[in-house]
Subunit: 483 residues, 2 copies
């Protein structure tokens, strides 16, 4: 009886506490409230008429006044009780790819673009729950660095590279938290994929260091990070890519042997005769989607045998007609085209408060100019990862195992090089009745493969990805039995 | 003008010749005609009401009177002008798998089983043409050896193995041609998959040798053979399987290293400590479909986490519900279950003139008793293949590259061991606008990979398979440009 009274009391107190948290979260000063409201996205063109039960914001945050540099973000509150939920920052790679057009609109955001272009609700958005697990999150997408997506600088961008990206992203976060102070105390996680294998640990490192030396008001409650098909180490990532290509029947024995003989991937500078072999390998990218080996390419992009672009006959070539040729699970390989078209629409830009300075260039999903002008790219992120694991951060990596660009083989080599002790080796994990992939638990790091998923894991395996992020946030092992 | 008259004359003569061929083909003696008519399949239970525009036959051919051994066949004439078309014999592997229930009903036959079980027409059946190419074929399926599918012996089968299978299949062919003499002069090809990597070259070898020494009336007009995901060489097939499994992220580094350290695959006898590692590897088969890495398993077979068979709740678990989880292109992983059910139906057996002796055992798609009792299995088929290539036969191999059982890696090792000169190395081939896979032309052998296809290539990539067989029959290279 005493216990029951105690339980009731505890429940009342908890409820009161949660209520207070929500009330306090609304208690923003008028200026902050006005700034937030200015960024509030009320509705989106081609948005389905269903009611949106969460708030969303987007706009610019200045990170460097002298260079008139401003980074663009899109923020979605969790679908339920955002005040109690962690905050995830998602970063796409490239370098040069827009997190808004890629991660938000094609992978994990609540609205996904489709043919039209129009929008559909994402059943597996990361700001939603799953299996009644309450570990939904508030989701922040950042176009980073300047020159990517809607982010810009009115000065020259000839200093782009890993360092400036981390510094600018850190500055963005500090200023964004000033605009959204109600999220400052939330658990904070960074997630991303591909070249964000650099961005994510580098930003985490910047936060980690600044947290120690900065004033309390600049403290960011960083708890960990998670990266899919990450680019972490030039040596192992390159070596693994060619091994994977041979093992998956993509290149000849001759080319493979020649790459192995002529390339020393442990060197920071590759020889010309190595590059000559790599150039031969690169022709693969012109034929199949190396980011997802077994799905069709987009007919709107592919040159025909006569060398003419198929786009010219897009009215007669139905993309859906390709779906029966190779396994695809309904994946539309032209989504990137729809996203590009959607975010170039003036009404979409207006709704998102994007491109307010009316830059002359169109919105580009992956800006190769940014990538080509990259000044510094860290050879290996392994020392940074080791430092951050030792610093107590939660670190998870995952790998869609049908990606040829940053394949599972590469990440396995990378993990071996990292040299952590294995706590539990290579165990299947289940997504309902099917093996979702395999997982290895290291001391301080969890690695997960996603069976049959390409480079952009949430695009190819949305349900499995939501399962992974909810388990990451809950710091729980994925289920090792069918359910 | 003279040329035009000559052309007209040539056309008339050719037409007359073709007409004569057809007329003569109908001129069978009454006894043969009666035997054929006895085997004629008039209709099939659950056959769609569409008109079937080709003739089909099935029944038994005695191969060994002393052992009361009879092999069961199912034969489909080509959909157009069968008298002018080649004859293909298709063999499934195992050892122990029924060509009738597998190859005919799930892969390349004109009727495929589906849920119900019922039948559907196969758009890509190998007795049909494609792209207006006239190289359709007459299709013969054989349950081989006795004990497999509907084939039987009323005596003990304790001498089963490669040798007896080849001899019995040869005897079958001789007797089958006596029943269908109108096909005796046709170009004859053997096709198959998996363990038929043994059956096909061994039968070809038997025919090749017998053709030289036998009387003219026993001559079989063998022109070549084609095998998918073939089991050809114990050393390379085994080695390639584990390499493939590691490279595809299926096994731990530790298990892989342990297999490499403890197994000498060049030896005909593996050590116990090698087998111990292989047993660990084999547990993979309990979790995913190793014959098609990225498709779902059949929920009707899979044990649930609680150890109970899901079959018990098959009414609530719709197999189709799995399709959204991983790429599948509409492939139903329970087809083997439907085929087993279909061929056990008394009305189906009656329609096919099968199980006339009413054996006590049910029809089994893959009879493990046959495989387990196998007495001899040739270590390497490479000498046989070399001999047959030198003998002028057309030899093609193909490999679905998402098969984990006899993977593309294994066949690449095998081909290297075969040591033929390369005429054209690793070229993409196209299935319409998509890369269907890659192909290598050796002196005397063509190798083709099929992108994204599992072990039973025609099941997973039916259109590509029909494309391959039509090009094989026409002895033409697959297209190297999109069309």
């Amino acid at each position: 009886m005493a216990l029951s009274k105690f339980a009731l009391c505890l429940w009342l107190c908890t409820s009161m506490f949660l209520l207070c948290t929500q009330i306090f979260s609304l208690e923003l000063d008028p200026q902050t409230r006005a700034l937030q409201e200015a960024d509030r996205v009320i509705s989106l063109p081609s948005q389905l008429p269903m009611q949106v039960l969460f708030r969303q914001y987007s706009g610019y945050v200045t990170v460097d006044k002298s260079n008139e540099k401003a980074l663009f973000y899109w923020f979605f509150e969790a679908t339920s009780k955002p005040a109690q939920k962690p905050l995830i920052l998602w970063l796409n790679g490239g370098p040069g790819c827009s997190s808004v057009g890629s991660g938000a609109a094609q992978e994990i955001g609540p609205f996904l673009v489709k043919e039209g272009p129009t929008l559909k609700f994402n059943k597996y958005a990361w700001n939603k729950g799953m299996y009644l697990i309450v570990f939904t999150a508030n989701l922040l997408f950042l176009d980073s660095p300047a020159g990517v997506g809607f982010s810009y600088s009115n000065k020259s961008l000839n200093v782009q590279g890993d360092n400036i990206t981390a510094l600018d992203s850190y500055a963005f976060l500090q200023n964004w938290f000033k605009r959204f102070p109600q999220y400052k105390s939330h658990e904070f996680y960074i997630a991303g994929e591909s070249y964000a294998g650099h961005y994510v640990p580098q930003l985490a490192d910047a936060i980690f260091d600044e947290n120690k030396k900065s004033a309390k008001e600049n403290y960011i409650n960083l708890k960990g990070f998670i990266i899919g098909n990450p680019f972490l180490d030039y040596e192992t990532d390159r070596r693994g890519m060619y091994d994977y290509a041979w093992g998956h029947g993509l290149i000849s024995d001759a080319l493979y042997q020649s790459i192995k003989a002529k390339c020393d991937f442990s060197s920071q500078i590759l020889t010309q005769e190595c590059w000559d072999q790599i150039f031969k390998y690169n022709s693969l990218y012109e034929m199949i989607d190396m980011f997802s080996l077994y799905t069709p390419t987009c007919a709107l992009n592919a040159p025909s045998s006569s060398g003419k672009k198929l786009a010219a006959r897009s009215n007669t070539v139905r993309v859906s007609g390709l779906f029966h040729m190779i396994p695809s699970a309904g994946h539309d390989p032209c989504t990137a085209n729809y996203a590009t078209e959607y975010f170039n629409r003036p009404d979409v830009q207006q709704a998102l408060h994007a491109n307010v300075t009316k830059v002359s260039r169109p919105y580009i999903l992956c800006n190769s100019e940014v990538g080509n002008a990259w000044k510094n790219s860290t050879f290996s992120l392994l020392p940074t990862i080791t430092k951050l694991i030792n610093g107590g951060l939660r670190v998870w990596l995952f790998s869609g195992d049908t990606d040829g660009r940053l394949p599972v083989t590469s990440t396995r080599y990378t993990l071996n090089k990292l040299g952590l002790n294995i706590i539990e080796d290579w165990t299947p994990w289940y997504s309902h009745r099917e093996v979702g992939g395999w997982t290895v638990t290291y001391e301080g790091l969890t690695f997960i493969t996603v069976r049959g998923a390409g480079h952009q894991v949430p695009m190819f395996a949305p349900q499995q990805s939501l399962q992974i992020i909810t388990h990451f946030l809950a710091n729980k092992k994925l289920p090792s039995l069918a359910f």
